[in-house]
Symmetry: C2
Amino acid sequence: MGSRERLVETMSELMWERGYADTSPREVRQRSGVGQGSMYHHFPTKRDLALAALERNVADLLPAASELDGRGDPLARIEAYLMRSRDALKGCKVGRMTQDPQVREDPVLLAPVAAAFARVHASWVAALREAVAAGELRDDLDPERLAHTLMAVLQGGYVLAIAQQDPGPFDDARAGALDLLRAAAPPGRDDTTQTDRK
Amino acid sequence: MGSRERLVETMSELMWERGYADTSPREVRQRSGVGQGSMYHHFPTKRDLALAALERNVADLLPAASELDGRGDPLARIEAYLMRSRDALKGCKVGRMTQDPQVREDPVLLAPVAAAFARVHASWVAALREAVAAGELRDDLDPERLAHTLMAVLQGGYVLAIAQQDPGPFDDARAGALDLLRAAAPPGRDDTTQTDRK
DNA sequence: GTCTATAGCAAGATAGAC
DNA sequence: GTCTATCTTGCTATAGAC
């Protein structure tokens, strides 16, 4: 692996762990083993390196969200994505960036974050729309709104888990969201078809 | 107002705006107008000042949450707290701290955050329990879980809003949560009593 | 309690040789 | 492309007088 790739990979890790403002070029060099000269050859400023790392982190995240776009029962896909295995105490490598003052005030650094969330939102909306069409969700629910609600449950779940240093609140938050979705099945629907009742 | 109070107030503001790691003692002095000597007289280290500021921010937040504990219709209280006016683009002054590496790795600084969230959670649980008892929510919903879900909707809503630099996603997220709560009224319940249908 | 002066060290580069 | 040396600025204090 070349110096350039090692720099980007290391910066990606550090931005997930510590954010942008609190990660120094020095740390990147030490962890990656790339020298000063090489670093500034490939990336004239810390910000340039951060932008490359951020785009890499976004690219890491999007494939998972495309799980929502798959075929098969829409509500099952929604449930699968919601309950997907995630490291609650590490948080979201993209969502985290919104809390970094130097990122949120820099339109160029914030742009990939906004774009990533917009794409994930679109996938949520499509899946929720299908679920309504399939009669799995009441048709007076708004898929656009609900998509934001469910994304917020995940992003906020990380916040709660980190505060308590315990993944429990994250798991509770998403399980509670799923409970609500199930309770929002159209009235009169035969729910003896539910798969996992206790 | 004395120097000490001015320092704490200024640090509180800066920690909300920029977090802990990215706020310097220098900025605090300049914005507060308190001199170097006074600052280190009252607070031997930046961390000591941050702890006082954090406790102040927590104290600011808790009264609002006690709205959930009030009397009157439980679901109405839940709705009022959820839809309370909030500055989505500023985020939560307490939740924000969980994303600051220097806070999340410091048990002493994280403790007030954890305690605050635990108290708010307890208020949510109590209100949700009452709503179930009053027949406003299905009794197969778990108030503990749901409390985490609704807290996460708010915390995550801020993340979405900041990413898009638009309060819309925050408002969508909480409106969607409210839609789900209403859809989770016990089956067969007469909902012609709903107050705000379009 | 408040002031000014000073200090040690890290951040974030830049310069110029190889 | 990579190396070492150097630079400026800001962070986080400490010292000691008033």
